[in-house]
């Protein structure tokens, strides 16, 4: 337990200081949202062994729910975040409930197909604004006290959400529940024969991951003030896999590193390489799978650290 506390504190201090290094706050906020998204995804892939190819559905729908509740119903940000997280949790029950009926590759294809259905729904639903997006979502006033239109207050809220989510994942992974998940990852049949209700554990992990992904997506909408179809479409589901893969599947800090790397790359390459961004991301994908499967953090800890896997 102590190990991760130390890392967690370091992460928190870093987060608190980051805006004073001259880093661009909006960028940091966006990257933190994606970092939480990748961590939530990793809870499923890295610690339960389930590869979902449809996580964008949770990230994006939560964004729409938050946007709609705040813009149209005039809800407060805390209420918006809450209902958005709950909504993606419910969506997680539906999609997860179907998907865990199959394993491995089938699981990946089912999540992809079901997420595509959510995408089609979002195109046609009137409240999403289709290709115009849901625009002009106000940031509002948190608990009636903190005015979020100030970038710094917004930043510390995002940081708090990220750290909270991160801590929750950390605690989950190290709890008895997390141990069962790892047992399922290593050998499902054995976990089953030991008397664990594997499906219930898997579903619970799926829903938790979906809800946290939703929290990340809702927060991103709050920061940027809009939500669009890109966030529910399948390329984003691929990107979050890439973030986790490049950072290190099954490591706690890997997805954070991966998310920052990919978001920085997308942003920096935007005005440098023109149409080659996608090719570069694809090449990184291939390279990671072939030669670098432990990811950055995994590789570092294998080289410098103890063998115990977090």
């Amino acid at each position: 337990m102590k190990r991760s506390y130390l890392g967690f504190i370091a992460l928190a201090v870093l987060g608190l200081l980051a805006p004073y290094t001259g880093a661009y706050p909006i960028f940091l906020m966006k990257a933190l949202c994606f970092a939480l998204f990748a961590c939530a995804f990793n809870l499923l892939l890295g610690f339960t062994g389930l590869l979902s190819f449809g996580h964008a559905a949770f990230f994006g729908s939560a964004g729409y729910v938050l946007g709609h509740s705040m813009k149209v119903w005039g809800w407060s940000p805390e209420a918006g975040l809450l209902i958005a997280t709950a909504a993606s949790g419910v969506l997680g029950v539906l999609i997860g409930g179907l998907a865990i009926r199959r394993q491995g590759i089938y699981f990946a294809m089912i999540t992809l197909a079901l997420a595509q259905m959510i995408y089609f729904f979002c195109i046609q639903a009137p409240f999403t604004g289709a290709e115009d997006g849901l625009q002009g979502v106000p940031r509002g006033v948190l608990f009636g006290v903190f005015d979020l239109s100030d970038d710094m207050s917004m930043y510390y809220l995002v940081l708090a959400i990220f750290l909270l989510g991160f801590m929750l994942i950390d605690r989950t992974v190290h709890s008895p529940f997390g141990q069962v998940l790892k047992a399922i990852r290593e050998n499902e049949a054995r976990a089953l024969s030991l008397g664990y209700e594997v499906d219930r554990y898997k579903l619970l992990a799926f829903v938790l991951s979906a809800a946290l992904s939703g929290l990340a997506g809702a927060t991103k909408t709050l920061v940027l003030g809009f939500e669009t179809l890109t966030d529910v479409n399948w390329p984003l589901s691929g990107e979050v896999v890439l973030m986790t893969l490049i950072g290190g599947i099954g490591t706690l800090f890997g997805p954070v590193v991966g998310a920052f790397l990919i978001i920085t790359l997308q942003n920096e390459l935007a005005d440098k390489v023109g149409s080659w961004v996608q090719v570069i991301l694809g090449a990184i994908f291939v390279l990671c799978v072939l030669a670098f499967r432990r990811g950055i953090v995994g590789e570092l800890s294998a080289r410098f650290g103890s063998r115990k896997n977090a």
């Binding site: 179907l98 009926r101 590759i105 990946a108 089912i110 896999v241 996608q278 090719v279 994908f285």
Partner: protein, 294 residues
Amino acid sequence: MEIFGVPHQALLGQLLLGLVNGSFYAMLSLGLAVIFGLLNIINFAHGAMYMMGAYAAWMLLEYFQIGYWWSLLLAPLSVGAFGILIERVLMKWIYRLDHLYGLLLTFGLSLILEGIYRDQFGVSGQPYQVPELLRGATDLGFMRLPNYRAWVVLVSLIVCLGTWYVIERTRLGANLRAGTENPQLVQAFGVNVPLMVTLTFAFGVGLAGLAGVLAAPLYQINPLMGSNLIITVFAVVVIGGMGSILGSIVTGIGLGLIEGLTKVFWSEASSTVVFVIMAIVLLVRPAGLFGREK
């Protein structure tokens, strides 16, 4: 005569058109199933290979003035050759790993391929004319069926059933099937398993390439044509289960027909109907219609 307010002639017409789409689904899901059977890899880049097949036909015409008929042979071969390259350079390193890495690798590959084609040829796409011999349409009484569409159904049926026959009824197919079950044993019998794996992969993606050539005159050739299709084909594969060759053919064609009917009765839902069926099949028969639970 009318069925739910739709003249049955129109219905027949729509069913026939559904058959055309079904042929594409069948050829693509068959390729996926063949590859999965031996390599245990789901080829996410299958859509990109389909796109490459269509572009190969276009390039042959544009740069070498080679027409449709030769393209029908050359384009799948070139896509297959590219498949050999991919298999030898990339795939063979990951056979011992979790199957999911295969999905990730091919996903990355499809991003690269689409990106390159987009950069080279733009996104609006390229036109490709229907070959002279197959222009025009035949009046079937209830509809005018363009000859080219009939040709697509014909070719795809021949190819699909031919594949099924080879795999299920010949010695070569027996080796293949045995290789799926126990590669070491087959190797011990003197069959060159790595070569068989390579050629199977080439054949699978070659099928996708052939589907691409067949699609070229029908749809605009553009870099994204494959990725729009592949997700639907994945759903087809989940519905059918990849256990049987015949199963994937039947499912592909069947879903094309169902989709065709949806277009008449509730056109807005025609792109989601496949996914809805998938969800129902998962609830009722998780292993898929023709699948075996491992």
